[in-house]
């Protein structure tokens, strides 16, 4: 127990602790948004439009329709994190499955999973593919989760494929077969648990990428549908008032930057934490 605590402490620097704190704060605040800021993020108040941050009753000011920016950031965060998490989860499941099957069976299965699906997807420019699908199916949360889930799957597939290739040659996989494990058991109960560490690290990185892409699509009006709050949408509308009120564009931009940075730092921490070489006493 003590050694585990030490290991965690070793993987986290001050900056990484700050990143973890930021992400946790964001999650808690976005879930509790209606309590923290009991203001409807859609309620317009044209008389008090474009208030600067620090205005009474509006901690981060108001936008061009007089809507509270803090309420919009936090409610936006909830959608943002849900979409990013959903997309990463879909990508992780899809990609891991492709990588596992391709790596474990090889041959035709490898061609189908890694070449035909994964490599073809990687060859598409992501934004163009996203634009295409959103244009066909219309914008919205579910479309975004599906699109980004598919887009980020090859990243997982490649990592899991490589890991599976090396793990499947290890003797404990042979041992499992020798002791009667069915193929599905060997695949999901023996190989999969031994390739989870890089999946978790990749998950954190994909969260960051998903937030960035979602903001980009919302900025283009292809993500979350206005007037529902989204960070990308806020940047887009703030752009028009950049000259007289820079806070409308700065606040959501800064939030996006810090969120992505935090997930990146968390990925680094997780990588150090889960790296078997960093685990002391494992090969005594």
């Amino acid at each position: 127990m003590l050694t585990r605590f030490r290991r965690i402490a070793g993987a986290f620097t001050v900056v990484r602790w700050a990143a973890l704190a930021f992400v946790l704060l964001l999650v808690v605040l976005s879930v509790l948004a209606p309590i923290v800021v009991p203001v409807d993020p859609l309620a317009q108040d044209v008389a008090n439009r474009l208030l600067p941050p620090g205005a009474p009753g509006h901690l981060l000011g108001t936008d061009e329709y007089g809507r509270d920016v803090l309420a919009r950031i936090l409610n936006g965060a909830r959608v943002e994190l849900l979409i990013a998490f959903g997309a990463s989860a879909v990508a992780a499941v899809l990609g891991s499955l492709l990588g596992l099957v391709g790596g474990y069976f090889g041959g035709v299965a490898e061609f189908l999973t890694m070449r035909l699906v994964s490599d073809v997807l990687l060859a598409f420019p992501p934004v163009i593919l996203a634009l295409l699908i959103v244009t066909i199916y219309g914008p919205g949360e579910w479309t975004l989760i599906a699109v980004m889930g598919i887009l980020f799957a090859p990243g997982f597939a490649r990592i899991v494929y490589g890991q599976t290739l090396s793990v499947k040659r290890l003797e404990y996989v042979d041992a499992a077969k020798a002791f009667g494990a069915r193929t599905s058991t060997a695949l999901f109960r023996v190989v999969l648990p031994n390739v989870t560490a890089p999946i978790i690290v990749q998950f954190s990185l994909v969260m960051a990428s998903a937030i960035l892409l979602e903001s980009g699509l919302s900025y283009l009006g292809l993500g979350v549908v206005a007037p529902a709050p989204s960070w990308g949408g806020m940047v887009a509308s703030g752009q028009r008032y950049m000259g007289n009120d820079p806070s409308t564009i700065l606040v959501p931009s800064i939030v996006v930057v810090f969120t992505i940075l935090s997930f990146g730092l968390l990925a680094d921490a997780l990588r150090d934490l889960l790296d078997p070489r960093a685990r002391k006493g494992s090969h005594a």
């Binding site: 042979d174 499992a176 077969k177 002791f179 023996v190 648990p193």
Partner: protein, 579 residues
């Protein structure tokens, strides 16, 4: 260890020592946090002498040897003195150290495959070493490289110069490595387990070569090994290490005749000694005296019902484009009767592990048959395989890699019960795992531990417990002790014997170590390049072999007795000069 057995200066004539190590402590760490792995190690290596540094893994023998040339990792520091012909190597500069390495002290590493650079030819690597130390022209270096390869008796040396490490056999690679090590005409040659990665026959040749070179070049030899047989064969002086300390330092003859320290005695006792261990007497197995007419001649002396029967087995691995398929097992017949322990011996590449893996269904059969519990594995259906898995089970060579690192040992042990639908209730399975742990003399409440929390010997006990979970009628043991230290090896073998007597399972014991097989097996099958050379009663095969190959195999095993080894070497050399 309070007693100090070593006099601070074991030899008054220390001036003749090529290497003089005094109070050497190697510490790992950084800043103020240093942990010593060796403590006050002292010994001498005199000119023309072979000193063996012996110990089990973790004893600090390799660290001590590598510290002579400062080949330790960056987080290590040395305290004490290491003198090479009077020059202190600890306090010497990096440039001088580079000159010492290779030209005054040569090193041979354990695994020539990884110690040689795979992307350069033998000639290039040898030339580079030569030119790094002497001012040789290209053509001079070429000539010298060729001379060196001749000196180490590498066959066809002109062609070898242009070959890459992977084109050579293990023994040949080690010869090339030795050629490199002696290229600078060193005063001292350090050989770190030089034959551990090799087969016994290759080992004997390399050891002969090292002794021959030592005499020719008048070198001192520091040999690091865990094998008491090799020690008896080679050394004039032995330094025994345990837990980073020297526990005994004596001339070889005296050490073997009258070991002083308890640990040395324990080490010598646990070494299986080919030709000296009593063949285990077992209760007579149930035998039916009817000899089936179609049983091949070689096995007809063995009657009774077979638990595992291999007939005319061929296993071929398909070759890549344009290559011939590799025949790993070539028309092999063997049988394991009920209650029998059959030893399957051979060198690497003889196909012995392939047979073991085929018997458990891991390797497909090309032709012939393997029958386990009246099911032919070559044509078994899925359901039939299921019943085979309850009858036949396997213990793998390396418990560190054959146990799932992410599964608790309880889960690993109970897995065969779960996967073969023997026991559906998870609580009952855990209870069984606890019983099995006790069966292999481990605490029952270790079910929740992970493999990395256990030592090598403990892990192998877990491997055995897992293999016994389904109560198999035949156990395939694939070199179950070769990844373990000798003292641990002895206790694991004893456990296997006891369990075999207690539970009465049959066993196909695969090993390259004839002395281990002698202790365990009632019958022996000798394999060579996928074919059976001979098979029969253990005593008969190992003491009165019919085949030349078996005889050579037995002769090549170094036994822990300096007198026997000296005799053997004399015979071998006489034979060589006579022919």
């Amino acid at each position: 260890m309070p007693e100090k057995l070593i006099p601070t200066d074991p030899t008054p004539s220390a001036s003749t020592a090529v290497l003089r190590v005094r109070d050497l402590s190697v510490e790992f760490g950084s800043g103020t946090d240093w942990k010593a792995v060796t403590h006050d190690v002292s010994f001498d290596v005199r000119a023309g002498e072979t000193v063996a540094l012996v110990g089990e893994s973790g004893s600090g023998k390799s660290v001590t040897a590598m510290s002579v040339l400062d080949l330790l990792p960056g987080n290590a520091r040395r305290r004490g003195t290491i003198e090479l012909s009077g020059e202190d190597l600890i306090r010497t500069g990096a440039a001088r150290m580079r000159a010492v390495r290779g030209s005054e002290v040569g090193v041979v590493f354990q695994e020539p495959m990884t110690a040689l650079n795979p992307v350069y030819t033998i000639g290039t690597q040898l030339r580079d070493v030569l030119r790094a130390h002497g001012r040789l022209s290209r053509s001079e270096a070429d000539r010298r490289a060729l001379d060196l390869l001749r000196l180490v008796n590498l066959p066809d040396p002109e062609r070898r110069l242009g070959q890459y490490p992977h084109q050579l056999s293990g023994g040949q690679r080690q010869r090339a490595m030795i050629a490199m090590a002696i290229s600078g005409d060193p005063k001292l040659l350090i050989a770190d387990e030089p034959t551990t990665a090799l087969d016994v026959t290759a080992q004997a040749e390399i050891l002969d070569l090292l002794l021959d070179l030592q005499a020719q070049l008048d070198m001192a030899l520091l040999l690091i090994t865990h094998d008491m047989g090799v020690v008896a064969d080679m050394a004039t002086h032995v330094v025994v290490m345990k837990d980073g300390r020297v526990v005994e330092d004596a001339p070889t003859a005296r050490l073997f005749a009258a070991p002083e320290h308890a640990y040395t005695r324990e080490l010598l006792d646990s070494v299986p000694f080919l030709g000296r261990s009593e063949i285990v007497e077992r209760q007579p197995t149930v035998s039916i005296s009817v000899v089936e007419p179609d049983v091949p001649e070689a096995m007809s002396d063995e009657a009774g019902d077979a638990v595992l029967e291999v007939r005319d087995l061929v296993i071929r691995y398909p070759g890549r484009f344009g290559e011939k398929p590799f025949v790993a097992v070539d028309h092999v017949d063997l049988r394991v009767g009920r209650g029998d322990v059959v030893g399957l011996v051979g060198e690497s590449g003889s196909g012995k592990s392939t047979i073991g893996r085929a018997a458990i269904g891991l390797v497909p059969v090309t032709s012939g048959s393997i029958r386990v519990a009246d099911v032919d594995l070559a044509s078994a259906t899925r359901t039939q395989m299921r019943s085979v898995r309850r009858e036949a089970s396997i213990v793998f060579q390396d418990p560190a890699s054959s146990l799932d690192p992410r599964a608790t040992i309880g889960a690993s042990i109970a897995a065969p019960l779960r996967w073969n639908d023997v026991e559906k209730d998870a609580r009952v399975r855990t209870e069984r795992a606890r019983e099995l742990l006790e069966l292999v003399r481990l605490p029952a409440d270790w079910v929740d531990r992970y493999p990395h929390e256990l030592s090598g010997g403990q892990r192998q006990r877990v491997g055995i417990a897992r293999a016994l979970a389904v109560r198999p009628s035949v156990l395939i043991a694939d070199e179950p002790t070769s990844a373990l230290d000798v003292s641990v090896q002895a206790s694991v073998l004893r456990l296997l014997l006891e369990l075999q007597a207690e539970l009465g399972f049959s066993c196909l014991f695969i090993s390259h170590d004839l002395s281990v097989v002698e202790r365990l097996a009632t019958r022996v099958v000798v394999l060579n390049r996928g074919r059976v050379e001979e098979q029969g009663d253990t005593r008969q095969i190992l003491h009165h072999p019919r085949e030349e190959y078996t005889r050579r195999l037995i002769q090549a095993v170094p036994v822990p007795d300096p007198v026997v080894q000296a005799d053997r070497r004399r015979l071998r050399l006489e034979e060589a000069t006579a022919s």
